[in-house]
C-alpha cells in the first residue's frame, strides 16, 4: 500500500511535469498594468473632446495616483519588497490627503453616485485580475491592500483629471472612498480565494 509520503511525492512530481514553464513575475505585472490602464484609457479617449485644463492643480495629483498605481502594481506582485509595500500604504494616504488639501473651487456639481459608480466600474476588471494574480502568492494583507489601491488608481486619476466637481465632500465621498473601499474589497476577496502558491 502506498504511504502518505509516496502519494505526496507522486503528486508533486506530476505537478512538476505539468508545470514545465513558469511566467516571470514582471510579465504578470506588465499584464496587470495593461488591464489596469485599459478601461481608464478608453474612457479618457472617449471624453477627449473636453479640453484638459493643465493649470488645474489636480493634474499633478492625478499623475501621482497613476505613478503610485504603477509602483503598487510592481510592489504587489514583486517577490520581495515588504517594506516598500508598507511605505506605499503611507504614500497613498499622504497623496490622498495632499489631493483633498489642494482642491481648487468646483466648476460644477456632479452627483456623488456618478463618480462613485464610474470609479468602481473602471476598477472592477483590474480588481478581479489583481486578486487572481495575488492568489499565486502567499496570503498577505499588505499585498492585497496595495493591489487593491493599484487596481483603483487609474480610475481615481481619471476622475481627478476629468471631474468638474472639486468640492471637498464630493472628492472624499465619490473619489477617495471608493479607492479605499476597493483596497479593502481586495483584502476581503483575497482571503476567500484559494491560494495556488505559498511562495513569498
Amino acid at each position: 500500500m502506498m504511504s502518505d509520503f509516496d502519494s505526496i511525492r507522486n503528486a508533486v512530481m506530476a505537478e512538476s511535469i505539468r508545470v514545465s514553464q513558469v511566467r516571470p513575475w514582471w510579465i504578470v505585472a506588465l499584464a496587470l498594468a495593461a488591464v489596469n490602464l485599459a478601461p481608464a484609457a478608453i474612457v479618457l479617449q472617449a471624453t477627449a473632446f473636453e479640453r484638459p485644463d493643465f493649470s488645474d492643480v489636480r493634474w499633478p495629483f492625478g499623475f501621482g495616483f497613476l505613478i503610485l498605481g504603477a509602483v503598487a502594481t510592481v510592489a504587489a506582485i514583486g517577490p520581495r519588497w515588504h517594506v516598500i509595500r508598507l511605505s506605499l500604504l503611507v504614500a497613498a494616504a499622504a497623496l490622498g490627503i495632499g489631493a483633498v488639501a489642494t482642491l481648487p473651487p468646483p466648476r460644477a456639481a456632479v452627483p456623488n453616485y456618478e463618480c462613485f459608480l464610474t470609479e468602481v466600474g473602471l476598477s472592477l476588471l483590474p480588481l478581479v485580475a489583481f486578486v487572481y494574480a495575488l492568489s499565486r502568492f502567499a496570503p498577505s494583507r499588505a499585498r492585497a491592500l496595495v493591489g487593491g489601491l493599484a487596481a483603483g488608481s487609474a480610475g481615481l486619476a481619471l476622475l481627478h483629471w476629468r471631474c468638474p466637481d472639486s468640492s471637498f465632500t464630493h472628492v472624499m465621498v465619490a473619489h477617495l472612498t471608493p479607492w479605499v473601499g476597493l483596497a479593502l474589497l481586495a483584502l476581503v476577496t483575497r482571503s476567500f480565494v484559494r491560494t495556488y502558491s505559498y511562495a513569498p
Binding site: P79, A138, P200
Partner: protein, 168 residues
C-alpha cells in the same frame, strides 16, 4: 535548486527526498494536526514547482523552502481555527506519542498550541529546527530583532505553561 530551475526534473526529486521529512516535521509542529501537516507538505512542494522563478539563484534554499512551509502552515492554521469557530468545536491537537516520554511531547504540543502563530513559528524554527534568527527573519520577511522578540515572548509563555519541565 539551481539545477531544477535549469530544467532538471531529477534535481527536484532529490530536493523532495532531502527536505520532505524536515518540512513534514516542521508542519506538524506548526499546525499540530497530522493530516493537515500532509497537506502543508504537499502544498509546500507544489508551491516550489509553481513559483520556482521567484527563487533567487545562489541564495540558500532551506530558508526559502521554510518560508513557503510557514506560509502554508499559517493558512492551514487559520482555516482550522475558522472551521472550529464555525462548527463551535475546539480543534483537536493530534499527537503521536513519543516513545521516551509520551507525556512530555503531549504537553509541549498542547503548550505550543496556546501560542500565537508568529511566536510558535519563531520557537519551532529556532529551537526545534535549528535555524538561526537571521534565517528565520529572511524566511518570514521580518527583521531579526522582530523574530528575537517573538521567540523571547513565546519562550516566556511556554516556560509558564511548562513550569518545571522547561530547560534553557
Amino acid at each position: 535548486m539551481a539545477e531544477y530551475c535549469a530544467g532538471n526534473e531529477r534535481a527536484f526529486e532529490a530536493l523532495f527526498n532531502r527536505h520532505a521529512e524536515q518540512v513534514k516535521r516542521l508542519a506538524q509542529r506548526l499546525v499540530l494536526d497530522s493530516s493537515q501537516a500532509n497537506d502543508v507538505l504537499q502544498m509546500t512542494f507544489m508551491s516550489v514547482v509553481r513559483s520556482r522563478e521567484r527563487y533567487i539563484q545562489g541564495s540558500p534554499f532551506r530558508p526559502w523552502l521554510f518560508a513557503i512551509a510557514m506560509n502554508a502552515a499559517r493558512d492551514a492554521w487559520r482555516r482550522r481555527k475558522t472551521e472550529a469557530i464555525a462548527t463551535n468545536e475546539v480543534p483537536e491537537v493530534m499527537v503521536e506519542p513519543n516513545a521516551s516520554d509520551p507525556g512530555l511531547e503531549t504537553r509541549v504540543r498542547a503548550a505550543l498550541d496556546k501560542l500565537p502563530h508568529g511566536q510558535r513559528e519563531a520557537i519551532v524554527l529556532h529551537r526545534f529546527e535549528g535555524l538561526s534568527y537571521a534565517e528565520i527573519a529572511e524566511a518570514a520577511g521580518l527583521s531579526e530583532s522582530a523574530i528575537k522578540v517573538r521567540a523571547h515572548r513565546g519562550s516566556r509563555v511556554l516556560r509558564e505553561l511548562l513550569r518545571g519541565e522547561w530547560e534553557e
